[in-house]
Amino acid sequence: MTTVAVKPATMAQALTRAMRDAMADDPSVHVMGEDVGTLGGVFRVTDGLAKEFGEDRCTDTPLAEAGILGTAVGMAMYGLRPVVEMQFDAFAYPAFEQLISHVAKMRNRTRGAMPLPLTIRVPYGGGIGGVEHHSDSSEAYYMATPGLHVVTPATVADAYGLLRASIASDDPVVFLEPKRLYWSKDSWNPEEPQSVEPIGRAVVRRSGRSATLITYGPSVPVCLEAAEAAREEGWDLEVVDLRSLVPFDDDTVCASVRRTGRAVVVHESGGFGGPGGEIAARVTERCFHHLEAPVLRVAGFDIPYPPPMLERHHLPGVDRILDAVGRLQWEAES
């Protein structure tokens, strides 16, 4: 009997591997963006792709995000599968017209004749000490745009599986990569055949009976930590990782909330007009009579992302989550 040495891999490595494998499997997959070629991206997520597949398959573009996405639309119209990297969340904004008015609408506009199999990778969120414009959580914009899938991994394995599924999707996918998890590690073996998660399924990361934490992306590890800490308080928290904001997995989320009767939505994005409102509202619509307390939200404040030295006050942490759990009207139960 031999022990297989499973080297831990980082999320960044899993993402690289997903693109590499997709490019090897399908010659129509093209990676493009600022600094993705020679440099391998500012986060090195495209490292080695230009070398292995050539600059025509992994291309350093001119510095213009609308141009990057707009030309990718044209490439997809001709049958390619572009994988676009936006260098940082806030630098995707110049491409919003292309995104909203074309990427999201082309299939619908042409009654299905012209689908756009496009993946738009956006490193997002804070917690890395980034200066202004380098830590935005922009998922609310994408969620509010019908025609886009919005996917975000929280584990190394999901990073691989969900990115493969996104590239394979015949629809445009905004693939949100939690920056501060790029260097998170897991015992994930890139040489093993990898199961590819379908898009649209949430997963219960931790089972519990007292209340459900509904979360995604960078906040998943924080919620797991909070769930551990909550044991001391006598709460057994369930943690649901959404993985995909669009489509939304009502079934998994509502099954959990019906079981626990209480829920807190946790995300970094600003609370007002952020994803949590949608999530809380739809859970309430569907599980009202199972709820012992209103679905609460723990989110970033409704402010521009703060400078590094203040970001710890902004980011939802364990204490703030536990505080919200504490406000779930436990007395009402007894």
Binding site: A64, A76, R111
Partner: protein, 376 residues
């Protein structure tokens, strides 16, 4: 000892990295718009082509008047007419090979029609029916683009993709003078130039962006001069001279196909009608300007040429008119039928597979429709 000799240690030399990347001179457009009709260059043009252009212009004009009439009858929601610009529209379609792609803006239904798209399908959007009425792959005509200049990067990407795949396909993208002010215009030209993509940009400078005249849009010597800033050739052409537009476009298409990269072409023309039927052009321009341009009508210019060279007689004119009338009658008839839209289409094509949420919504609408049906 001269000053220069004293300065041996730091005799001026260009900064190490600097060298002109392209010679700008050949990129600059001519000082005057290029013209063929009425010049000796016309003699070199194939008479068959001239006759073909003529037939298409006559048909195109009729198409414009018919579509405008349809707005008055409530059969079209809105129509941005290309009356006066038919030479550009028609030449754009004719300069392309079948395998090439056309990227029209919202005003360019005529170019799509001249390329073979069924007029009813070309007008589907403007009728209030579905957003795009034709399958873009059938005639390789991208959906009409309403957000100005956004179609330009699409054309660049498609042309680039074709080249990467080894296909000798050229993309021709149309945009208005107003559209050149958008950032997408700039980014598209730059990407095209850097990638040496086989794409041709045709700016129809019709003098106005809705009410805004060119002088408030740009201070450039000409829009074609923008080309030099991207390192690609700029051409200036009389947009009402069908033979000239056709020649300049064909040259650019050939150049692109041969790997020579993109070209920016400015066609100087004029929007004879208001911006759309909903617009009141008298608010921003005088009749005399319109009249002057009527004297430079693309059909008249070509008719003169053909007539004087004995290539067109009354019978020929009549044949062109008859063909145009037949098209118009057919268009009118078919546009007078109410389109049948299926509300379920609202959900069918948002994604390859409707999301669970869309299925719920579709069921809701279906229940409402059923209830209406029960009542009706």
């Amino acid at each position: 000892m001269t000053v220069m000799e004293q300065r041996g240690a730091y005799r001026p030399s260009p900064p190490p990295a600097w060298q002109p990347r392209t010679d700008p001179a050949p990129l600059l457009p001519d000082a005057e718009p290029y013209r063929v009709l009425g010049t000796e260059a016309a003699d070199r043009v194939d008479p068959g082509l001239l006759r073909r252009l003529y037939a298409e212009l006559v048909r195109g004009r009729r198409y414009n008047t018919q579509a405008t009439a349809l707005t008055k009858q409530g059969r079209l929601a809105v129509y941005p007419s290309s009356t006066g610009q038919e030479a550009c529209e028609v030449a754009a379609a004719l300069a392309l090979e079948e395998r090439d792609w056309l990227f029209p803006s919202y005003r360019d239904t005529l170019a799509a029609v001249a390329r073979g798209v069924d007029p009813v399908q070309a007008l589907t959007l403007l009728r209030g029916d579905w957003h795009t009425g034709y399958d873009p792959r059938e005639h390789r005509v991208a959906p009409l683009s309403t957000p100005l200049a956004t179609q330009l990067p699409h054309a660049v990407g498609l042309a680039h993709a074709a080249r990467l795949k080894g296909d000798d396909v050229v993309a021709l993208a149309l945009v208005g003078d107003g559209g050149t002010s958008e950032g997408d215009f700039h980014e598209a030209l730059n990407f095209a130039a850097v990638w040496q993509a086989p794409v041709v940009f045709l700016v129809q400078n019709n003098g106005f962006a809705i009410s805004v005249p060119l002088a408030k849009q740009t201070a450039a010597p000409s829009l074609a001069h923008k080309a030099v800033g991207y390192g690609i050739p700029g051409r200036l052409v009389d947009g009402n001279d069908a033979a000239a537009v056709h020649e300049v476009l064909s040259d650019a298409v050939r150049h692109a196909r041969a790997g020579g990269g993109p070209t920016l072409i400015e066609a100087v023309t004029y929007r004879i009608d208001a911006h759309t039927n909903a617009d009141d052009a008298t608010r921003y321009r005088g009749d005399s300007e319109v009249e002057t341009w009527r004297g430079h009508d693309p059909i008249t210019l070509l008719e003169h040429e053909l007539t004087e060279r004995g290539l067109l007689d009354e019978a020929g004119k009549q044949a062109a008119r008859d063909a145009a009338e037949a098209m118009a009658a057919d268009l009118r008839d078919r546009m007078n039928q109410d389109p049948q839209l299926d509300p379920r289409d609202l959900f069918a094509h948002v994604y390859a597979e409707p999301t669970p949420q869309l299925r719920e919504q579709q069921a809701q609408l279906q229940a409402e429709l059923d209830a209406e049906g029960d009542l009706g």
